[in-house]
């Protein structure tokens, strides 16, 4: 297995479980399960034992492996510079092994099957993909500056669609030149890759590249940081190069237009850095720049932000497989509690997975009256003054 | 081997003993200076050997270029009067030893010599260094620092090898004759120290200020004057090469920086104090640093330019705490060229 040669180098010191200030556990699976096996170090050792036959494949082992939310906290905080960058790579390689063996958890199997058969995890027909933009008057892509990619969650999940509509609507109001693919849009494949299903991922890459190439797409705006990450890092640039942006980066470029057009004095907001935009791709400023364009807004940062953000648990396929569950120790509930402690009345998010995970968590924690989860463009739209029609 | 180009006769005939009477630390009167200088000439112990803080200034003050400081260091080593505790010296000698890892590399002009400071190579960017090659590593370390440790023997032993490394591995086969020295130490080594020790230097050293000064002429249409007050921290090694000072003035004039008029500048410059700490003289280091920084602040400096990494590492944080931005000369020029601190 690729990256197997780093597994024995883990000292199980546990720095990977923490953010840089050690304020709380920052590994979603360890935080939820609390057995050492579910921590990055424990996972490394378990995988090594599995590869050398000391441990057999079991549902428990599969759960240990697939409960990783791939948030990257371990990569960020591991103190061993010579192999830390490959920790997640090792986990993904092990997932590939399990996919090939056919021993993945049932929820993972079901997700991958749905994706393979239906092209989306919701088992909905392709025709449903375009419906999120009904009534918005968006154009199909035909050479505009950008292609706007809504993704599976943005196209087919209720909460995701709300976000997609808001973001696309705001981009339109700001006169950003973009089009969509509608029913022709394909899944970006990030979750497939991170669940170890390289075959499905590669076929999605092929289909997406074909669509982009045939239409001459040069720049893509991704709604989801997951898609942003895949397009930016895992799509081969030698076959068809294209630039990719997260929508917050485009909005940040428009922040002068937004400045002074949105106003809500005394609005107390905290912001959750999505892992695939923040820690994985180091984009911490663009969303904050947009928030600061709302005049009167007070940005109250949580203790764990930027490269220390605590994952909502929606990565690594867990948004669909739900291996981390929704109990009181689930990362999403821990995160919403942390957000509420800042005294903010709104938790701003920039990812459809985070939006849903954290909204559900707020309900489970009975915090709905105290803190609302809002995506950034939704905030802009809600608090705009006259100026943008 | 490598006899120092020092003449005892010149010192004997000297009437002013500037090396000791102008010393900012020993502050000797003429009579005492004469006595102590003659003790040194006789090869005897002198309090000068013990009390010298190794700031190099006397190399500049001597009107005859007779290398009073290099001679002093030779005497320190000969008589075992160590300026720095022995374990520290020994460790430093090991730490800065050539690793023997140099491999030949083709270079193209301008070739920037970063000495053994790889952490500063990120500074070689933008229009000022367009097309530049850099060389860096333990095997081309200039070794001037041993003057602070009473270890001329290490200089004599290692410097010829370093010069040969630079010439044989980089310059000769690339057909390049000029080497831009990023730091005062290197330029001082190849233009002043090496000749004083009779060590030949086959290439032509160019000081970074000379290089920048000429480059700014080429890029003059891009310059937006800074309109800032800037202090200049003169390193000890710059005492070996005072001819570089007019370039500082010219560069500042071209980029619209005002070299603040302050007490501890030019011939009255103060050390960064790093070496005083090695000599276990923390109080002196504190005093010198405070006077220096107070002086910069009183003159209204917003930036402080460094041309020596040791000064930068030592004073950078304290200067920042005073609200003065520490900066390398080339970085300041880059700001004037609109390239900012993060490059073009």
């Amino acid at each position: 297995m690729e990256f197997a040669d780093i597994l024995h180098r883990c000292f199980r010191c546990g720095y990977c479980k923490f953010p840089n200030n050690y304020q709380d556990f920052n590994c979603p699976s360890y935080s939820k399960f609390r057995f050492e096996t579910y921590s990055p170090g424990g996972r490394m050792w378990v995988l090594r034992a599995w590869l050398n036959g000391e441990l057999k494949t079991t549902p428990r082992l599969a759960e240990i492996l697939f409960s990783c939310a791939t948030c990257g906290n371990c990569v960020e905080h591991c103190v061993f510079p010579k192999f830390k960058d490959d920790i997640l790579h090792a986990f993904l390689a092990a997932r590939e092994e399990m996919v090939n063996q056919g021993t993945v958890p049932p929820a993972v199997r079901d997700y991958l099957k749905a994706l393979q058969v239906h092209g989306n995890p919701y088992r909905l027909p392709a025709g449903e993909r375009g419906k999120w933009q009904d009534g918005l008057g968006l154009e199909l892509y035909s050479g505009q500056e950008y292609l706007f990619h809504a993704g599976c969650v943005g196209s087919l999940d209720e909460r995701g669609m709300k976000m997609a509509r808001s973001v696309a609507g705001l981009l339109k109001k700001l006169e950003v030149s973009f089009g969509i693919l509608g029913t022709k849009e394909n899944c970006d494949g990030n979750e497939a890759l991170f669940l170890g299903e390289k075959g499905v991922f590669n076929s999605l890459v092929e289909r997406n590249i074909q669509e982009f190439q045939s239409r001459g797409v040069k720049k893509v705006i991704a709604l989801s940081p997951h898609a942003y990450h895949a397009f930016k890092n895992d799509y081969p640039k030698n076959s068809y190069p294209f630039e990719v942006f997260h929508y917050t980066q485009i909005l940040a470029m428009q922040s002068k237009k937004l400045m002074g057009l949105c106003s809500q004095p005394g609005l107390r907001i905290t912001y959750h850095d999505p892992c695939y935009l923040g820690r994985h791709n180091k984009e911490y400023q663009a969303p904050r720049k947009i928030l600061k364009s709302i005049s009167g807004l007070q940005l109250l940062e949580m203790g764990r932000v930027k490269e220390n953000a605590f994952c909502c648990g929606g990565g690594g396929g867990n948004f669909f497989t739900d291996l981390l569950g929704s109990g009181p120790e689930s990362p999403a509930r821990g995160r919403i509690r942390e957000a509420a402690e800042t005294g903010a009345s709104i938790l701003a998010v920039a990812c459809p997975n985070c939006a849903k995970m954290l909204e559900d968590a707020a309900k489970a924690e009975n915090l709905e009256g105290k803190i609302a989860v809002k995506e950034i463009s939704e905030l802009i739209q809600e608090h705009r003054a006259e100026g943008i029609a | 081997m490598n006899d120092l180009k020092f003449s005892g006769e010149i010192c004997e005939k000297c009437e002013t003993f500037d090396c000791l009477t102008r010393c900012q630390y020993l502050k000797m009167d003429l009579k005492t200076a004469k006595e102590e200088r003659h003790r040194l000439l006789r090869g005897e112990e002198s309090r000068v050997l013990e009390e010298c803080v190794t700031c190099y200034a006397c190399e500049e003050y001597c009107p005859y270029g007779n290398h009073p400081f290099y001679h002093l260091v030779d005497q320190q080593e000969k008589l075992g009067v160590w300026p720095v505790p022995q374990p520290i010296t020994k460790q430093q000698v090991l730490m800065m030893a050539p690793r023997g890892k140099i491999t030949p590399k083709k270079v193209q002009p301008p070739v920037i010599n970063m000495c053994y400071f790889p952490m500063l190579t990120g500074s070689i960017r933008g229009k000022l260094f367009d097309g530049a090659s850099t060389i860096v590593g333990s095997d081309i370390f200039c070794n001037v620092m041993w003057l602070h440790f009473g270890k001329n023997s290490v200089i004599r032993q290692r410097l010829p090898e370093m010069i040969a490394n630079i010439w044989d591995h980089y310059l000769k086969d690339s057909g390049v004759n000029e080497l831009i020295c990023f730091h005062d130490e290197c330029y001082g080594t190849y233009t002043h120290l090496a000749p004083a020790f009779g060590i030949p230097v086959p290439f032509k050293p160019i000081h970074i200020f000379d290089y920048l000064n000429k480059k700014l002429d080429e890029l003059k249409d891009l310059i937006k004057p800074l309109g800032q007050k800037v202090a200049y921290q003169r390193s000890c090694s710059n005492r070996l090469v005072p001819e570089t000072q007019p370039w500082v003035d010219e560069i500042f004039q071209k980029i619209g920086a005002e070299r603040v008029d302050r007490k501890y500048d030019r011939e009255n410059a103060l050390c960064c104090g790093a070496v005083f700490r090695a000599q276990q003289q923390d109080d002196l280091a504190d005093d010198v640093q405070k006077r220096n920084l107070d002086d910069m602040a009183a003159a209204g400096a917003k930036f402080c330019v460094f041309s020596c990494p040791a000064c930068l590492f030592t004073l950078g944080e304290p200067i920042l705490k005073r609200g003065i931005m520490p900066i390398l000369m080339n970085d300041l020029c880059q700001i004037a060229l609109g390239e900012g601190m993060k490059g073009g």
Partner: protein, 459 residues
């Protein structure tokens, strides 16, 4: 066994019990060289009452019970030597109280060092606790109970000296309060009562399960600095330690010696960390420390390294993250060390022993010493890295550790947090009356012999 699983699940909830091969694998070993010993169950209690019920169950069924904190002791003390239940205490990690004026914190035993440090920084920034150099995952309970030491040990002794009180579950299930908390609502200390804390400190969990601890806190002064004194004659080091410690202004005095990088070989570095409430005070303390060593400095046989501020950052960290990196020296994720507690005048002998043993065993090494109190003793550590994937390398380290334990005892020191074989060596040297007393205490407190059996086996 299935019944036992159900009973444990009834106590802590099914999500927090495991008898799965994966947990049994991980909890059978720690990152050191000791051979794995598998437990039958791993349980994660969340409250004192859950622990009590587990203890009663274990007592009833005569099942071994092994309390575990961070699992970072490296000498295998949380392995289930005779099977049974490993009690991973880390869910019990609440910080219950901080009394600022009396400078103490009351925490559950599984609270990690890192979380307490972060909590105090945020909520009580004028206070800090003595942080060991183990990774922040190490627990307060685990470290105090093994007589750990850390960044305030020069100022205030072993971490066990900083203990104000405890809540303990005896092996027979009683919940006992130790210290002032037994009689007062405050956890201010162990005096003036008969000090029962000694029944649980250094016993490796063989006398009960500690569920809460109150530890002393100390001023967290905003200005910090470190002086690194270097010499190349180990015979001088006891004098350096004696003088520097005698000034009584430093917070931490720790020596380090390593053969790599090359420039460090043969030199002894002594880090002296100190802190102050004002810059002038910091300079004053620096000068006091330097004055104490002026004799050596004037002879030029030692001196403080001229470290510019950016180079001091590692030495000012607590815990020092670079120490864990020693585990990758052999590209193999492992190191273990013998910490010999001994008088400071044994420094030269310990230093030479470390070099000799490493040479004989063909392993690389790193040594150092943390000063406890005013040089009342030191924890001299001999660390050997190994490549976990190379059994011969692990063996080499193991042999080096065994030889080191013997050598430490031979010179008059005592191995700290000694692994099971070293415990036997200690027992072999111990005064018979002391042994007898240990036996009596164990028999009294743990008649069924369920608590971490295989450790301190004097019966």
């Amino acid at each position: 066994m299935e019944n036992l699983f159900k009973e444990l699940a009834q106590i802590v909830g099914p999500s927090y019990v495991s008898n799965q091969p994966e947990e049994r694998f991980i909890y059978s070993r720690d990152p050191g060289t000791m051979e794995p010993r598998e437990p039958d169950f791993v349980v994660l209690p969340a409250t004192t009452d859950e622990v009590r019920k587990i203890v009663l169950l274990a007592n009833r069924r005569k099942i071994p019970l092994v309390p575990m904190g961070g699992g970072l002791v490296l000498s295998g003390l949380s392995r289930a030597l005779k099977g049974g239940i490993v009690l991973d205490m880390k869910r019990m990690n609440r910080i219950l109280e901080v009394n600022e004026k009396s400078r103490y914190a009351l925490v559950e035993a599984g609270t990690s060092q890192g979380m307490l440090q972060a909590y105090l920084k945020k909520n009580h920034p004028t206070l800090k606790h003595s942080v060991p150099d183990s990774p922040p995952m190490a627990t307060i309970g685990g470290n105090v109970l093994i007589h750990g030491s850390g960044h305030l040990s020069h100022a205030a002794g072993f971490h066990s000296d900083m203990l104000n009180g405890m809540e303990v579950i005896l092996p027979t299930g009683e919940v006992v309060k130790i210290g002032s908390c037994s009689t007062s609502p405050y956890w201010f200390g162990r005096a003036p009562l008969p000090d029962l804390a000694g029944l649980f400190l250094g016993w490796f969990g063989t006398t009960g399960v500690v569920t809460k601890l109150a530890i002393k806190l100390y001023p967290n002064r905003p200005y910090q600095d470190v002086g690194v004194f270097v010499t190349e004659d180990p015979e001088l080091v006891p004098e350096v330690l004696y003088q520097a410690a005698g000034v009584q202004v430093a917070e931490d005095i720790t020596a380090w010696m390593t053969p790599k990088p090359d420039w460090a070989k043969g030199f002894q570095h002594i880090n002296i960390n100190y802190a102050a409430d004002a810059p002038e005070e910091l300079i004053w303390k620096r000068n006091l420390i330097r004055a104490s060593l002026k004799g050596l400095i004037s002879r030029k046989v030692g001196g403080f390294l001229p470290l510019p501020p950016p180079m001091k950052k590692n030495f000012l960290e607590a815990p020092q993250t670079t120490l864990a990196q020693f585990a990758d020296v052999r590209k193999g994720g492992g190191f273990e060390y013998v910490g010999g507690i001994m008088p400071i005048d044994l420094f030269p002998r310990a230093y030479r022993a470390g070099i000799d043993i490493a040479a004989r065993q063909g392993t690389t090494y790193s040594t150092g010493a943390r000063i406890i109190g005013l040089g009342h003793c030191m924890m001299f550590f001999f660390a050997y890295p190994f490549n976990r994937a190379d059994e011969s390398d692990v063996d080499r380290a193991r042999r080096a550790l065994e030889e080191t334990n013997r050598e430490v005892l031979e010179m008059g020191g005592i191995p700290w947090k000694a692994e099971a074989p070293a415990q036997k060596q200690i027992i072999g040297r111990m005064d018979p009356h002391t042994l007898a007393l240990i036996n009596r205490v164990q028999s009294m407190l743990d008649p069924q012999g369920i608590m971490n059996p295989g450790n301190w086996e004097v019966r």
